[in-house]
């Protein structure tokens, strides 16, 4: 999958906005939104929040976890633990990028947040590589990967799945007669 498709999925997450306009309830195919009243917070999907923000129709309330102190705690925990720690949002990376790129003026300490999230990402990717390596060397058949996010999986998907496929084929060599001989 392309990272932009993972981002597309992240845009379905909801975020609170404070609109500066009024509008009745909107009946979307995927569910109802609104009503919108100036100054009253309302939850909308990220794709709409960003669009309204670009049209200067709202202010975005950053998600609770998008906070320098909270992220610093997460970073320390992530560095301390050997396993993947539970992350506050399954799309933390995408949401950080989207909200910081389009609504940085609504997010306090935006630069700090960007660095913290990048640190968390790097630590987790390093762990992912370690687990990939031990999965291959131990020739495991099953791994539990709770807390791993879609974007993290996606950066290594093709590489890891193909590595496992090749290993499987090389291992089938050990059982003579299992491979089909091919005549054309």
């Amino acid at each position: 999958m392309d990272p932009s498709e993972v981002e597309f999925l992240a845009e379905k997450e909801t975020v609170k906005i404070i609109p500066n306009f009024s509008l009745d309830k909107v009946y979307l195919i995927g569910g109802d939104l609104g009503p919108f009243n100036p100054g009253l917070p309302v939850s909308v999907p990220v794709w709409l929040a960003l669009n309204l923000k670009q049209r200067q129709k709202c202010r975005i309330v950053p998600p609770e976890w998008m906070d320098a102190d909270k992220l610093e705690e997460i970073r320390e925990l992530e560095r301390k633990e050997d396993t993947f720690t539970p992350i506050p949002s399954p799309h933390y990376m995408e949401l950080t990028k989207l909200l910081l790129n389009h609504a940085a003026d609504n997010i306090p300490k935006a630069d700090e947040i960007r660095t913290l999230v990048k640190d968390i990402w790097d630590t987790r990717i390093a762990k992912l590589r370690l687990s990939a390596d031990s999965f291959i060397t131990q020739q495991e058949a099953h791994a539990k990967l709770d807390n791993l996010t879609l974007m993290e999986i996606n950066t290594t998907r093709t590489f890891l799945l193909d590595s496992l496929k090749y290993m499987y084929k090389l291992r089938s060599n050990l059982q003579p007669g299992s491979g089909k001989s091919q005549d054309y």
């Binding site: 498709e5 597309f8 909107v26 979307l28 195919i29 794709w47 990967l145 291992r171």
Partner: protein
């Protein structure tokens, strides 16, 4: 603009689930991801595709009556575009698999017993047949007709690789499963069973969990 209920029946057929449009869109997204990540072509969901198309057309008709520049209409248009993107990506990834596995896809269709649901939509079936015929004509024209008569055949079923069901996939569990057998990878390992808890994520062989993908108990990610 009201949300018209759609009667999309579940896969089991016997139960007529009435899905809300929101559930229908969620279903489309799940089906899309499963199709993108599964190594083989999954069962077709023509009925779901039709329902989504209906929803889109219905919404577009309503939008015709709204004047341009309306905020509400622009929100609806954005949603329509997003759903259209998922729908086309879903259909396109199916066509890619048809192109990749065409002889096997057609063989499976041929050996299907009467009454069983087809894996291909009528349009996909026509596409697969045409793709097969074109490939054969092409190979004949550029190479095979210049060969000695006994070498003018290529067995497409042998020549085109089958989907690799032993490949690994990533998945998230939607309904708890107990005692899923994990086969050993090496001679000195033993087979063992795992429980798949709801919400947990796993990396394992597609073959082991393929039935759970079609039943909807797990979601490929």
């Amino acid at each position: 603009m009201s949300d018209a209920g759609s009667d999309f029946s579940g896969e089991d057929g016997s139960q007529e689930d009435i899905m809300t449009p929101a559930e229908l869109i969620a279903k489309l997204e799940e089906t899309w991801l499963n199709e993108r990540f599964s190594p083989e072509l999954l069962e077709n969901k023509s009925e779901m595709v039709e329902c989504v198309m209906e929803q889109l057309m219905h919404m577009e008709e309503n939008l015709q009556r709204v004047k341009k520049g309306d905020v509400k209409a622009s929100i609806h248009r954005m949603e329509i575009d997003r759903i259209r993107f998922v729908l086309s990506s879903y259909l396109r990834s199916r066509l890619q698999k048809v192109e990749k596995f065409f002889p096997h896809v057609l063989e499976k269709e041929k050996s299907r017993s009467e009454g069983d649901p087809s894996f291909l939509s009528p349009e996909e079936f026509a596409f697969a047949k045409e793709y097969m015929a074109n490939t054969e004509t092409y190979l004949k024209a550029v190479a095979l007709k210049h060969m000695p008569p006994n070498l003018q055949q290529v067995d497409m079923l042998k020549a085109v690789p089958e989907p690799c069901l032993d490949c690994f996939v990533f998945l998230r569990v939607k309904e708890r499963q107990e005692n899923i057998l994990v086969e050993p990878e090496t001679d000195d390992q033993r087979e063992y069973v795992v429980d798949l808890d709801e919400g947990s994520q796993h990396l394992m062989r597609y073959r082991t969990i393929a039935p759970l993908v079609s039943s909807g108990a797990v979601q490929l990610i």
